[in-house]
């Protein structure tokens, strides 16, 4: 029993505390991951109800997803909005981050603050307010409307990630290029951009997810044929637990994991 009261090193907690801490933390980590992973096997169930573990396996819920024109249309709407948002937000956000980095130090803080704003305002307010603005502008139920709202939501992530990337980049390299006769634009695209490309790609990924994951704003500014996948899933979830959603969720998890793996592959390797 003495072992429990011993510390590994003089500064570390006792073995008993350590045992407690380790088991507790591992349980919490499992609880964090388990809900996501449990959806996958359940989506292959043959049952009308969700059961774990499934008694018989089938693809019926995947077929029910893929054969439903409504689900497919909603998926296309979501994907299109997310891809365009990703491109637009990355370009606009990277320009802003670059401006903040090279511009006057005086304006950097207030401009950065403006770009953090979308994170601080509760999404439900943006959703209702957007409806006010989008109705007269004719943006309700359009891809342009979704892209505008989602780009705004994604900008904080893009600016934060790219600013961090630029912070570790030596701006003198660009000065050298310019002093050798390159224009600022050419210096940026040939010298700076290749070196911050990982941050820019991460930004694009973030922006894609922000758009693809968004529910509340889409609920207000899109409906019917222009509704996003999340909007349709959310409405379905409030009514009943439909196993089709398990199949869709599994597809979404697969997309997330694929993109994460891609991000890992493209990551610059310092030790290699």
């Amino acid at each position: 029993m003495n072992w429990f009261k011993q510390s590994v090193t003089p500064t570390q907690i006792t073995n008993l505390d350590r045992l407690w801490l380790y088991s507790f933390s591992i349980i919490v980590l499992v609880a964090l991951v388990a809900p996501t992973l449990i959806v996958v096997p359940m989506s292959f169930s043959d049952s009308q109800y969700l059961e774990f573990p499934p008694r018989t396996y089938s693809f019926r819920w995947y077929l029910s997803y893929l054969q439903s024109p409504e689900w497919i249309r909603a998926t296309v709407v979501s994907l299109r909005a997310a891809v365009i948002t990703s491109v637009v937000a990355t370009v606009i956000g990277t320009a802003a981050a670059y401006g903040i980095r090279v511009g006057s130090k005086l304006l950097a803080a207030p401009i950065s603050a403006i770009f953090i704003l979308p994170m601080a305002v509760p999404a439900i307010l943006i959703a209702i307010g957007s409806l006010f603005i989008f109705v007269p502008l004719g943006l309700v139920n359009t891809t342009a409307g979704l892209v505008l709202a989602h780009t705004m939501l994604a900008l904080p992530f893009v600016v934060i990630v790219t600013t961090a990337g630029l912070a570790s980049y030596d701006m003198n390299q660009e000065m050298v290029a310019r002093s050798l006769g390159a224009t600022r634009a050419r210096a940026f695209f040939t010298v700076t951009l290749p070196q911050i490309k990982f941050s820019v790609m991460t930004s694009a990924l973030f922006a894609f997810f922000v758009s693809f994951d968004e529910v509340i704003i889409a609920m207000f500014i899109s409906n019917g044929t222009g509704g996003t996948l999340n909007r349709k899933m959310f409405n379905a979830l409030r009514d009943q637990v439909d196993p089709t959603i398990a199949a869709i969720s599994t597809c979404l998890i697969a997309v997330s994991i694929t993109l994460l793996v891609l991000a890992q592959i493209f990551r610059p390797r310092r030790d290699a």
Partner: protein
Amino acid sequence: MVDALSMQAPSSAELINHAGLHRKSRVETAMLFGLSLPGIVVIFVALVLPVGLMMYLSFIGADGSLSLENYMRIWESPIYGKVFGITFTVAFATTAIVVLVGYPLAYFLSQLSDRASSIAMIGVLMPFWTAVLVRTYAWLILLQDGGIINDTLMHLGVISERLHLANNLTGTLIGMSHVMLPFLVLPLYASMKSIDPNLMSAASNLGARPSRAFWDIFFPLSMPGLLSGALIVFVLCLGFYVTPAVLGGGRVIMIAMRIEANVSIYSNWGAASSLGMVLIAITAVLLLVAYQISKLGGGAK
């Protein structure tokens, strides 16, 4: 295109460019503004304008004139009192759960080796990479009366009657804690990592037992990270919509859901806008507090 002639005059070219660069640096303030302009326009059109219009609408009464009646109604109506009560209860309870669970987890992560902690971090980051709806849906399945958790507990004989874990406050708190935990753990982990381990050695050299060193040195130093993380979670909880709407089963009505109902069911834009303004005011105050704390934390380091 490089030929012998252009190679001969590097010094003058250098001089010209230096003068050019110098002049250009004076235009950089304008450039900065120009480059961030598209982003600022997007934020203005899609955020400032809509929320500003809501603020205006919140001061318009039923007869179309300026009045405070929307705010008076919030103040007087027992329904809104209840909604605010539930919202703060849920936000406070979620934050408490997340702090109690997240502190040991962040401590555990901060004590691991770099390799081990990067593996354990996958668990913390994974929720970030899965859609909130997917996770909420997963909890709905796990927690429902005929779900795995109830089945397992029945099977083990821990309970004789099925527990009602979903479509109520319990389900909402479980789902929200799951969504919020990474928002506390990540900043807390960062602040724990920045604590100088030599301080703990010094305490031990001076005769402090590990638990004493933890509570007198480590814990106070991790406080700024804990406080700012907890405030971020609290603020996010106040405006949260998706998880309580799905896991609350209509029994847990938070401010965000009431705002939505005011618009989509009652078409009462004034009521929705005024509630929204109250929510945004509370959020702004709490974020300012969080900002001050994080600044203090940065200064203490």
